[in-house]
């Protein structure tokens, strides 16, 4: 089992996780544990299994073999209200405005107060009064709103798949800073990204994946030297 001496109880424990797509093994026997209150950056080439791992943990896919616990629960459904997921795609309705989207998704978590949506939109730097439909948003705005949707219900654990894809550098840096602030509130965040440099000064740990396995984990001390390592990491 790959793990770093946890400072708090593990929020995710993976035990010999395997995922096959037909004959292809996308995840090959991953065992690992991840402590809470940290920001993990998952790195790796395309096809390394990063997104698949995240989708399994989010409950969107069943593992072919192995098991995992999430926030101490055996099934994701038990703790669904404590988990936030941001996918590759925005997971938003193009035909609705930003607030209409957030109002609907908040309702799925039993939150019926508009304040929740407004707060989430303001947190990611969007105007809650914006009546424009999401289909007319820029890519950066969509990603921000997608992040707002994922954090809307104040989850303890956030699983973010490529949150900075197609986002300009400034917006991406803003989003990374937001994630840092959320982590500072004691939340656990997993970010799958190819843009490791954006997580400079924010990440706590780099998790490298290759060919469906976790090949290394490196603690990041948030100082200049460690950030140099992040800049060179893929």
């Amino acid at each position: 089992m790959i793990g770093i001496a946890p400072s708090s109880p593990p929020v995710i424990v993976l035990e010999n996780l395997v995922k096959f797509f037909g004959r292809f093994a996308a995840i090959r026997g991953i065992s690992a544990s991840f402590a809470g209150g940290r920001l993990y950056v998952i790195l790796g080439d395309n096809g390394a299994g990063k997104s698949t791992l995240l989708r399994i943990v989010a409950g969107l896919m069943e593992p072919s073999q192995g098991s995992f616990t999430l926030l101490g629960a055996k099934t994701v459904h038990e703790v669904a209200h404590r988990v936030g997921y941001m996918g590759h795609a925005p997971l938003l309705y193009d035909e609705l405005s930003g607030m209409e989207n957030l109002r609907y998704f908040a309702g799925l978590y039993g939150l019926h107060d508009d304040v929740v949506g407004r707060h989430a939109m303001q947190m990611v730097g969007l105007d809650p009064e914006l009546t424009r439909r999401v289909g007319q948003y820029s890519q950066g705005m969509r990603q921000r709103l997608s992040l707002a949707r994922a954090v809307l219900h104040n989850p303890e654990l956030m699983l973010l798949d490529e949150p900075f894809s197609n986002v300009d550098v400034r917006s991406a840096r803003d989003m990374a800073a937001i994630l840092g602030r959320v982590r500072d509130q004691g939340k656990t965040i997993f970010v799958v990204t190819h843009q490791a440099a954006l997580m400079e000064g924010v990440a706590d740990e780099l998790v490298h994946m290759a060919e469906g396995q976790i090949v290394s984990r490196a603690e990041v001390v948030r100082d200049a030297a460690a950030n140099a390592a992040l800049r060179t990491a893929r």
Partner: protein, 224 residues
């Protein structure tokens, strides 16, 4: 996160999206209109003949039109993979199914209300039996179409040829209901027989298939 609350929220969301895009209602309306006009010119039936064939014609038109709406319903959830956002939430899966079914039911009922005068005009329809029975048949029959249709549309959303898959799955299972709808409608229109048996059959069909769909929908939603 009560089932009723999430059903209501999902239904309002679907109605709002349909009101803005009018994708489903426009395509259903256009399709039904074509069927009414083309069949009217092709057969040019007398009033008596019309009563005998109208039951079949009306329901086949609505069945094909409903398929158009059913595909649209789930297509919206696939765009931007929004369905994943629902799946990771603690919301009950059946709430989504119920919202989609009620939404589709409303769309098809609106279509029926808009198309009914056209059927009357083009086919010179006059009901010999009581009209309220036609309303009962229409409501039960529409529910039979949409409950299975919504379920099978959900089942086929991840298949490559979902537009073709839906009719292939839906039509065979709808045959008993279609038979009941057509015979009940013809019975009321001609006044030659009582539609009671067919109405009861439709009611039983609706209850059985609604229960089955509710039982199985969670597996459909979470299928990879």
């Amino acid at each position: 996160m009560s089932t009723l609350g999430v059903t209501g929220a999902s239904l309002v969301k679907d109605l709002r999206m349909e009101w803005r895009s009018k994708d489903a209602i426009n395509s259903m309306l256009f399709f039904s209109l074509l069927v009414v006009v083309i069949f009217s010119f092709a057969f040019n039936p007398t009033a008596e003949e019309s009563r005998r064939i109208a039951g079949g014609l009306i329901w086949v038109a609505f069945l094909f039109a409903a398929v158009v709406a059913l595909n649209q319903t789930w297509a919206r959830e696939l765009r931007n993979q929004v369905l994943d956002a629902y799946r990771v939430s603690p919301a009950p899966p059946n709430a989504l199914f119920l919202a989609k079914t009620v939404g589709n039911f409303l769309f098809v009922v609106v279509l029926e209300i808009l198309m009914a005068p056209l059927f009357v005009v083009f086919y010179e329809l006059r009901s010999v039996g009581p009209v309220w029975q036609l309303l009962v048949v229409a409501l039960l029959g529409t529910w039979a179409l949409v409950v299975n249709g919504t379920f099978f549309a959900g089942l086929s959303i991840r298949t490559r040829n979902r537009e073709i898959m839906l009719p292939l799955l839906l039509f065979p299972i709808t045959i008993p209901a279609l038979l009941a709808m057509v015979d009940a409608t013809t019975s009321v229109l001609t006044g030659e027989a009582s539609p009671d048996f067919w109405i009861k059959l439709l009611a039983v069909y609706d209850i059985v298939f609604t229960a089955l769909c509710l039982l199985l929908f969670e597996s459909v939603l979470n299928a990879e």
